[in-house]
């Protein structure tokens, strides 16, 4: 690390300026797949925060003993173990949501954000900053998931967290839920709109 960045920056940068989804454009696949409803999006976000934080810490602890040639395999083993723990917890305590998320909890293993953070940060930093980095990036990811999930559930199903939000009188007056919002293509457009809004606010991120 050429110039030292503070723990505060490590934690808060991934929220906006260095967001893994809308700035680095990583983890888009799961972002499209689990955001049709707000609840699975939230659970997915929390799962990624947990897995990312603990795998960052573990890799950071053993970073000096991992042989460079097999480091990807070691990282994968750590992530896979944590993902299985999360999956079992979800099966035990949130069975319905875990069924909705289906393979996407398992696919956290292949999420680019995880490998990216492990390679780029945990392999070269102490456990405490690594933990902050993991939580920060996890929250940055969860934030986008929740925003996208909010709009998709509101416009696609008229509900939020399963509760009816759009009043019945609107339906009686001829309002109809937008079926396209439930389909993955619309998630891409919602993510694009979030990026659009984000770049209009942060002008320094705009490409020339």
């Amino acid at each position: 690390m050429a110039d030292k960045i503070s723990n505060k920056q490590i934690f808060f940068n991934p929220f906006s300026k260095d967001n893994p989804v809308i700035v680095q454009v990583l983890g888009i696949c799961s972002c499209l797949a689990v955001t049709a409803k707000l609840e699975p999006a939230l659970v997915m976000g929390i799962s990624v925060i947990a897995v990312l934080a603990f795998s960052n810490v573990i890799i950071s602890l053993i970073r000096n003993t991992i042989p460079t040639n097999i480091r990807i395999i070691v990282q994968l083993v750590v992530v896979a173990a944590l993902v299985i723990v999360v999956n079992q917890l979800l099966l035990a305590y949130a069975y319905d949501v875990s069924k909705q998320l289906s393979v996407f909890i398992g696919l956290i293993i292949t999420n680019c954000i995880l490998m990216g953070r492990l390679e780029a940060f945990a392999m070269g930093n102490k456990p405490w900053p690594s933990f902050l980095d993991g939580v920060g990036n996890g929250i940055g990811y969860a934030l986008i998931l929740v925003i996208v999930g909010f709009f998709r559930e509101l416009l696609g199903s008229g509900t939020l967290m399963g509760f009816q939000v759009i009043p019945q009188c609107a339906y009686d007056a001829g309002y109809v839920n937008n079926g396209l919002m439930i389909l993955p293509p619309m998630a891409l457009i919602v993510v694009a709109c979030v990026i659009w809004a984000h770049r209009s606010i942060n002008k320094d991120l705009q490409e020339k």
Binding site: V176, N178, M181, L183, I189
Partner: protein
């Protein structure tokens, strides 16, 4: 005309730099050039100027669409009268009913679409582009007559912003704007865009017609897709008009069948095609190859007809006359912005549009109409086809030069 010119000239100073209404400069400019020939001439160099600018192109397309529009009005009235069980069909009342049915949809499409274009033009400090002129008239013509107005507004706004303005405005869009509007409606509100309740107007308009409850009549293609017919005779008897009488090929050609507003009459579409082809606006290569592709695919489907896919029993003539196929072939596929530019590419593009349209329609019972999806799919592939054609040409000429050495 003179008084109008005077009025415009009088208003000009307040729209120029430093004037009170400078913020609305592009609105003034748009209205001025719509009404009169632009005043500015180029100041440097020699320019060859053709009067066939995009404004005139658009106006000719609209003229070509008028037969379809008028027939759509008549047909909307005709279907309604037929549904009400009438024996006589008073021509002017039918026309007026259809006119009243389509007018609000036209107005909504234009107000929303042009509104967004005006705002974007102000914002980017550009001139207003005339591209929406045709799109606005196309949108109500390719939607069912009963589509709610707010849905048309939402879909128009969506496609103008995300398909056109995001890519840079008129002439830069990858996909056909009117078709994306329809695709948005089709996927977002399937219950209002297909099935058997939306293709015939059921309400009263200014005392004309009768309010009919529980009216159901699907398009012939919709009827075939859901009929479960297992041979050609059953397919033919599945296609009935709203009174229960079978539909003949002649009816399909004339267009007196339920369907989206402007696309039922193959006859009127052919009149429009004649105008577009004679003036050279639509590429004859594309129009011809779309019909060729559709005919070839219908023949293949007809030869290996199976009861699993009832639409495969339809004859070639029926396939080409029914649904939006002819409309897409004449008014959608040859869109110069979204189709291929190279001549060889145009043949390939058109042929594949025809093949895919019939392929989707026949072998996917969930989508009784495939023309929309076929054109959108080929819009996406058009640049690739052009690239391959250009590359092939380069390679061919390179190899020729080697022989010469």
């Amino acid at each position: 005309m003179k008084a109008l010119k005077k009025l415009m000239d009088k208003a000009r100073p307040s729209f120029e730099e430093g004037g009170k209404l400078h913020a609305f400069r592009s609105v003034y400019d748009g209205i001025d050039t719509f009404l009169f020939t632009p005043n500015e001439t180029s100041r440097s160099g020699v320019h060859i100027h053709d009067s066939m600018d995009s404004k005139r192109t658009m106006i000719i397309v609209i003229i070509a669409l008028i037969p379809c529009l008028l027939f759509g009005m008549y047909n909307a009235g005709y279907q309604h009268w037929l549904a009400a069980g009438a024996d006589t069909f008073p021509f002017w009342e039918l026309m007026l009913y259809g006119f009243l049915a389509v007018l609000p949809r036209l107005v909504v499409a234009y107000v929303v679409g042009l509104g967004i274009e005006f705002i974007v033009a102000q914002w980017r400090k550009e001139e207003i582009q005339e591209g929406f002129l045709v799109t606005g008239i196309l949108i109500p013509m390719i939607c069912p007559i009963e589509t709610p107005l707010w849905m048309i507004a939402v879909a128009t706004a969506f496609s103008v912003i995300f398909v056109k303005e995001v890519f840079g405005g008129t002439g830069y869009n990858i996909f056909n704007v009117a078709l994306v509007t329809r695709a948005f409606l089709f996927f977002a509100y399937p219950a209002q865009m297909s099935g058997d309740k939306v293709f015939v107007a059921s309400g009263k308009m200014l005392g004309l017609g009768e309010g009919i409850d529980g009216l159901t009549c699907a398009t012939p293609l919709g009827q075939v897709a859901t009929s479960g017919a297992s041979n050609a005779a059953e397919v033919a008897s599945a296609m009935t008009d709203i009174a229960g009488d079978p539909v003949s090929l002649w009816h399909m050609f004339l267009g007196l069948i339920p369907g989206s507003f402007g696309e039922t009459s193959t006859l009127c579409i052919l009149v429009g095609a004649l105008i577009l082809l004679l003036t050279g606006i639509a590429s004859w290569r594309i129009v011809l190859s779309v019909f060729a592709g559709g005919a070839v695919m219908s023949l293949i489907a007809h030869w290996c007809a199976t009861p699993t896919y009832p639409a495969s029993f339809l004859s070639v003539g029926e396939q080409l006359c029914l649904g939006g196929f002819a409309f897409a072939a004449v008014f959608m596929a040859p869109d110069p912005v979204t189709s291929c530019r190279t001549n060889t590419g145009k043949y390939i593009y058109g042929f594949l549009v025809g093949v895919i349209a019939i392929l989707i329609r026949t072998y996917n019972n969930g989508y009784p109409e495939g023309a929309m999806l076929a054109v959108l799919l080929m819009n996406a592939l058009a640049p690739l086809i052009d690239y391959c054609v250009v590359e092939a040409n380069i390679r061919r000429r390179l190899s020729r030069s080697k022989v010469a050495e």
